[in-house]
Amino acid sequence: MDRNEIVKAVNSIFIERFELDEAELTPEKNIIEELELDSLDIVDMIVGLQQKFGIMLRDNPAIRNVRTLGDVYDLFEKLAAEHPEIVERLK
């Protein structure tokens, strides 16, 4: 699964749930400070990612270390390699 597919899937959550413009969604953006997600949004980001990728995240410590959008892409690149069902789901 290439990174572009993951970027597209992750970005769709930020566009749909948080009404952000696609142009704002660059990897270096800090999710809280620059994209202005607050604590409720972070929970909804996790809910959205769980739905999109079909994998439980809320008890995964890795999601707590995410700071930038690029961190989310990296996490899912890693998870996709470990969980083939993610790749199947995005197809």
Binding site: D38, L40, D41, V43, D44, M56
Partner: protein
């Protein structure tokens, strides 16, 4: 009472409405003047009921909804959205400055039957289907009982008291009464107050179960809501919000605000014996207490905006109470023939229309009222009347045995 113990007076300086007859207070009033109905066949509920029962849904403009910031909107169910849009209209009319909301001298009191009936249903379905993890972090905030109140407070940055008068169909009127009392007590100088509610199949079926819903399918659904009429078969479920800016009189005068009418007196009580059976004695007691609170003689009431929803027992009990308190010479009408029953919104939403009636000296009749039998002995106009309205009495009556009465006085 000595001079310095006189009650502070409260006036209305802004009105907002979201209703099945349009999403502005003036639009609602104009539609009522034209005798239009907001009631239609709910084809989208046909699967749940097995036929097209009547209902009166609100239609929102997505562009208007999107004007509410995402971080407030995300925790709003439909009831809170209705309240937010109505509050925006009321605040705009009132001209309250944005920085005043954060002074601690502004309150927010909005009630609903439940925070969001549709959000509650969604949560139950998700739970039943094993999808609890799919629910948004915001979902619980949409269905909490005080959702409309805290969301509207957040919309405007209100930092004073935030309360929610959740007493089913008396919610809106209790909110306005509470606003009046907060101002009288000197706790605040202004309050955004009113009621909001949503209609869903679950809400309608709750009334159906109690034989209180006009549940037949009709080629003329707009004829089904028939308050005080001999042929009434129950209420038609509706939805909306009515939010008013209630403001201390001197404060309103100082800033040159538009003073639309005065909230002169208020009372609320309960029957203390039955959750669903209207109690004419306690309705009458509530009306008398509100008149006493306002210092108004029963003979000086020019018009009664009745609660009357179109149920067999409820309308007859209210008619009997009105007859006992005011006699048979005071004009009485119910706007639920046009609007259906907007539930927790009804008291404040109907008052939004009464404001237009007071301003223009107009009494709107009860739509679909043709034959009075068991509600006889009170004056029920069949046509629109021109008449000076100085004092109006508004009733709300709710499940739980709750009654509320507000006395409104034209401000000259």
């Amino acid at each position: 009472m000595s001079k310095n113990m006189e009650k502070r007076r409260a006036v209305v300086t802004g009105i907002g409405a979201v209703s099945p007859l349009g999403n502005s207070a003036e639009g609602l009033y104009r539609a009522l003047l034209e005798n239009r109905s907001g009631i239609r066949a709910m084809t989208e509920w046909c699967e749940e009921f097995g036929r097209n029962i009547a209902g009166a849904p609100v239609v929102l403009d997505p562009a208007e909804v999107k004007k509410i910031s995402r971080k407030v909107r995300r925790t709003m169910g439909n009831a809170a959205l209705f309240a937010g849009l109505a509050a925006q209209e009321a605040v705009t009319q009132s001209g309250l400055e944005a920085d005043f909301f954060a002074s601690g001298r502004v309150g927010c009191v909005i009630g609903s039957t439940v925070g969001s009936a549709s959000s509650m249903t969604e949560a139950c379905v998700a739970d039943y289907e094993g999808r609890r993890n799919d629910l948004s972090a915001c979902h619980f905030f949409r269905l909490m009982s005080h959702s409309s109140s805290f969301n509207v407070a957040d919309m405007f940055g209100i930092t004073g008291p935030q309360l929610s008068t959740n007493s089913a169909c008396a919610s809106g009127l209790q909110a306005l009464g509470t606003a009046l009392e907060l101002i009288q007590l000197g706790k605040v100088d202004a309050v955004l107050a009113g009621g909001s509610d949503e209609s869903t199949p679950l809400v309608a079926s709750s009334f159906q179960l109690l034989y209180a819903l006009a549940e037949e399918e009709s080629p003329e659904p707009d004829k089904l809501s028939r308050p005080f009429d001999a042929g009434r078969t129950g209420l038609v479920c509706s939805e909306g919000a009515g939010i008013l800016v209630v403001e201390e009189l001197e404060h309103a005068k100082r800033r040159g605000a538009p003073i639309l009418f005065e909230l002169a007196g208020y009372a609320t009580n309960c029957s203390g014996w039955h959750v669903s059976h209207s109690d004419e004695l306690q309705i009458a007691n509530c009306m008398r207490a509100a008149l006493a609170d306002a210092g108004v003689d029963a003979r000086d009431v020019d018009y009664v905006s009745a609660h009357a929803t179109g149920t067999r027992v409820g309308d007859a009990a209210e008619a009997a109470a009105i007859r006992a308190v005011l006699g048979g010479d005071t004009p009485v009408s119910s706007l639920k023939g046009h609007l259906g029953h907007t539930l927790g919104a009804s008291g404040s939403l109907e008052l939004a229309a009464v404001a237009g009636m007071m301003r223009d000296g107009v009494i709107l009749p009860t739509r679909n009222l043709e034959n009075v039998e068991d509600c006889a002995g009170i004056m029920l106009p069949r046509e629109t009347q021109q008449r000076e309205l100085r004092v109006c009495l508004k009733n709300s009556i709710a499940f739980g045995g709750v009654n509320a009465t507000l006395i409104c006085r034209r401000f000259d």
